[in-house]
C-alpha cells in the first residue's frame, strides 16, 4: 500500500498479489486517498495487536500444559520400566507376563 504525491496531488495505490507477481492497483486520489491510507495503517496495527494477543494466549496455554506433559512423560517411562522389570512384555499394545517371570509389580 502506498500513498504517492505527484504534482501536489495525492494518489493511493494498493498492492494486489497475482500469482507470483505483486501488482500495484490504483485506488483513489486526493482526500479519499489519505483517508484510505490512514484506515489501512490502523487496520494493520489492529491486526498486529490481535496477532500478538493470540500468540500470548497460546503461550499461556502451552505454559499451563508443559508441567502436566512433563509429569505424563515421567510416569509413562517409569510405568513401562516397572512393568518390563517385573517380567511383562508388550504384545499388540497389551502388557503380558512372560513365562517363569516374577508376577508382582
Amino acid at each position: 500500500m502506498a500513498l504517492e504525491r505527484r504534482d501536489g496531488n495525492l494518489y493511493y495505490y494498493r498492492s494486489v498479489r497475482d500469482g507470483e507477481k505483486v501488482r500495484k492497483v490504483y485506488w483513489g486520489s486526493g482526500e479519499l486517498a489519505r483517508i484510505a491510507h490512514e484506515r489501512e495503517i490502523m487496520n494493520r496495527a489492529l491486526r498486529e495487536h490481535e496477532r500478538r494477543e493470540s500468540a500470548k494466549e497460546l503461550e499461556r496455554m502451552e505454559a499451563l500444559a508443559a508441567p502436566v506433559l512433563a509429569l505424563s512423560e515421567a510416569a509413562e517411562i517409569l510405568v513401562r520400566a516397572h512393568l518390563i522389570a517385573c517380567g511383562y512384555h508388550r504384545h499388540k499394545g497389551e502388557y503380558r507376563r512372560a513365562r517363569g517371570e516374577a508376577r508382582s509389580t
Binding site: E53, S54, M61, L64, A65, V68
Partner: protein, 176 residues
C-alpha cells in the same frame, strides 16, 4: 525437570528398550535401575504435579481464594477416590497424573469456551486459526488424560494378577 532426573528417565527408557528386545541381562539391569531411580523420579514427578496443580487452579479460579480452595478440596477428594487404600508409589504417581490431566482438560476447555462467549470483550478474543491451535492442545491433553486412566487400570490389573475378565451372557428365547 532436573537434569539428573531427566538423565535417569532416559536411562530407564533405554534399559526398557534393551530388556524388551530380549538383550541378555537387560531385565536384571533394568530391575536394579528401577529400584535405584524410582523414589527420586516419583518424588520429582510429584513436585511437578504440585506445581502444575497450583498453576492450573489459579488460572481456573481466576485467583479467587474461595474458588481456589473449593477446587483444591475437590482435587484432594478425587486423589483419594482414585488412589484408594494402600496405593503403591506407582499408583500414586499415576493418580497424580490423572488428576493433573483432568484439571488441565478443564482449564483448556474453559479458556476455549470463553472464546465462543458472545459477551466476551473483543480485545480478549483470538482469531479462528488460534482457536484451532488451542483445540489441538486440548485434544492432545484429553488423549493423554484418557490414556493415563487406562494405564492406571492396567497397572492395577497386572498388580492383582487377575486374568482378563470375560463376561458371557446367555439369552434364551422361548417360543410359546
Amino acid at each position: 525437570m532436573s537434569a539428573e532426573i531427566s538423565e535417569n528417565l532416559e536411562e530407564l527408557r533405554e534399559l526398557s528398550q534393551k530388556a524388551e528386545a530380549g538383550e541378555k541381562g537387560g531385565r536384571a539391569q533394568l530391575r536394579s535401575a528401577v529400584a535405584k531411580c524410582s523414589p527420586e523420579v516419583i518424588a520429582e514427578a510429584s513436585d511437578i504435579a504440585q506445581r502444575a496443580q497450583a498453576m492450573l487452579t489459579k488460572t481456573i479460579s481466576a485467583s479467587e481464594p474461595l474458588m481456589e480452595e473449593a477446587l483444591e478440596a475437590r482435587l484432594a477428594l478425587m486423589r483419594e477416590e482414585i488412589a484408594g487404600e494402600d496405593a503403591s508409589p506407582l499408583e500414586i504417581l499415576l493418580t497424580e497424573r490423572v488428576v493433573a490431566g483432568w484439571l488441565l482438560v478443564e482449564v483448556l476447555e474453559g479458556l476455549i469456551s470463553a472464546q465462543f462467549y458472545k459477551r466476551a470483550p473483543k480485545s480478549s478474543r483470538v482469531p479462528p486459526s488460534y482457536t484451532l491451535q488451542m483445540s489441538r492442545i486440548l485434544e492432545s491433553a484429553t488423549r493423554r488424560y484418557l490414556a493415563t486412566i487406562r494405564e492406571l487400570a492396567r497397572v492395577r490389573k497386572l498388580q492383582a494378577g487377575a486374568p482378563p475378565a470375560q463376561v458371557n451372557t446367555q439369552v434364551n428365547i422361548l417360543r410359546g
